[in-house]
């Protein structure tokens, strides 16, 4: 193995090991786990409302625990509209999603919305705090700046993977405790099958955080820049999708849209291995994203 790659892998390994041993990994797992579990619980409450609407129409007794009238709910117009919105209006994807346990779909949807911000905030800590207290100097006499940043990005990526996979436990627990007629094994396997997609999805945003981290030694400022960058990608995506720009500007924007992770969300849904294409794009975007901050890092006083 060549020197730079070896150095980056060593840095990533120690970063992950340190994070797993201390509270930082736990915090990240807890944070996303809490968001995912909380969202899952929220969806069970929405489901309960929908089921009781269906019960009223069918003139059957109301239910106290969501899941009892799941088959009937899946034909409810309001529910179908909600699910259609979740999958971007694609009817084929809607049929596929309806075959999945509801909380798997909602968990995926929650991850798409929240993980970018969590990943960017985590990425913003990659090197800025170590530049601030100069602890990075111990590594700098042993590894190049590029290898250090690449190693930190790799370590954070692995850590986010731990958080994404770990959060499935919380969602599964909500599904088991808060719903009925939810096969435990199917719930867990579908959750796990969606986790790699969510993991890949958060990488470009982690890259944006790592880029921000190289710009300043102030962690809070780095976080702010990273979160603003994530917000910008959503706004830009919304503007392009809404087609509010004039003529050539819209054309240019649509061409550049492929650089936004959001443009690949549709391909991330669906059965089979089709999601590997956007996953590859996300990995490439992630490395491009963190490289944005490197010209500053390469020249700065450390």
């Amino acid at each position: 193995m060549t020197g730079p790659v070896r150095d980056s892998l060593i840095i990533a390994r120690y970063m992950l090991a340190r994070a797993l041993r201390t509270r930082s990994a736990l915090l990240l797992v807890a944070l996303f786990g809490l968001v995912a579990s909380g969202s899952a619980y929220g969806f069970t409450r929405i489901l309960l409302v929908l089921e009781n609407q269906v019960a009223r129409v069918l003139r059957v007794p109301k239910t106290e625990t969501p899941g009892a009238l799941m088959d009937a709910v899946k034909t409810d117009v309001d529910f179908l509209d909600m699910m259609r919105a979740m999958v971007g209006g694609d009817e084929a994807l809607l049929q596929w999603a309806l075959e999945l346990p509801l909380l798997t779909v909602t968990h995926f949807w929650t991850g798409l919305g929240t993980l970018p911000f969590i990943a960017a905030a985590a990425g913003a800590e990659a090197v800025s705090s170590d530049i601030h207290d100069r602890s990075i100097r111990f590594e700098l006499v042993r590894a190049g700046r590029l290898e250090i940043v690449a190693g930190r990005f790799l370590g954070l990526s692995l850590l986010l993977g731990v958080a994404v996979f770990g959060s499935t436990l919380g969602v599964w627990a909500v599904a088991m405790l808060g719903m009925i007629n939810n096969p435990p094994l199917e719930q867990m396997t579908t959750l796990l099958s969606m986790s790699p997609r969510l993991w890949m999805w958060c990488l470009p945003f982690c890259g944006l955080g790592v880029a921000a981290s190289q710009l300043t030694a102030n962690v809070n400022l780095a976080r702010l820049i990273a979160l603003a960058a994530v917000a910008f990608t959503w706004i830009a995506y919304g503007v392009i999708e809404a087609e509010v720009l004039d003529g050539w500007m819209q054309a240019v924007a649509e061409s550049a849209q492929v650089l936004l992770p959001q443009a690949w969300i549709g391909a991330l849904w669906g059965p089979g291995w089709g999601w590997l294409t956007p996953a590859g794009v996300f990995v490439a975007l992630a490395w491009c994203a963190w490289s944005l901050g490197y010209p500053i890092m390469a020249r700065r006083n450390l």
């Binding site: 840095i11 090991a17 340190r18 006499v141 042993r142 590894a143």
Partner: protein, 313 residues
Amino acid sequence: MSAPSALSVSGLKKRYGWRSGAWALDNMSFEVPSGALCALIGPNGAGKTTLFSVICGFLPPDEGSVNVLGLGPFSPSVHKGRVGVLPQDAALPERHTARDFLRFMGELQGLSAREAKDAAERAIQSVDLNARADHTILTLSHGMRRRLATASALLGKPELVLLDEPTAGLDPVQAHSLREHLRQQKGRATLVISSHNLTELEQICDYAVILEKGRVVMFGPMSELTAQARRVRWRLSAAPPLEALRAALPHHELSVQEVEGVVELLELPPQDADPDASSVVLMRLLAEAGVGVRELRRGQSLEESVLAGRPPS
């Protein structure tokens, strides 16, 4: 043919901020011979830490060049494992344990996992951190952190070690122990040690570079800077018969001064003089004149040299 330099600095310039800022390093040039234990001396603001930072590549120089181990400017890929550094103001990563930190540093400087483990164990032993090796650095005292950072600089087999204030904040026992450890590096590595403790540097080092306001005031072997081989100071019970002494030792420079109520005879023998022979002569003449000798000291201290701002003539 002169010995190769472990460190060579030529025309080095560095200033912080915009162009109006003062030079932190102002056309600095010097060499440190291979195998030397070199003291880097200077008051606060002399440029010691900036110099270390430029040598290690933490800061880019504005002008001039650094040649580390004859391999050009410092580069981690070129100097990996060959240069150890104790930065003065760098915090240790607090969430590592001491043992893991050293293993991490060892692997990063090119050792295999097994070698890094062994090197870390040796380093822990050498700085007496056995009892706290598995505690996170966050829980270590300042002195323990300093020892751990020094251990990381000496990890493996570095050829050049740069230590910025290694004993700062250590208690006297720890400082003594660390000094002994550094002294043992003689013959194994070239050490460049920055410290305000001149007595300590004089004890450890055999070479010195003295800085002031970003410039090199003087550099060379410690014995030359402190005139260890030549200058002799006699502290006497009464004024000596100076004319008789000068007549007996016509090629020696002799002078008398009174320091804090004590008479001192300063003797500067010629380069080729036998110091023992002249001591015997002086001792005899002083005894004949009934003047007692309270103390005899050869050379001048590094502190005196630095305060004088120039080596003794």
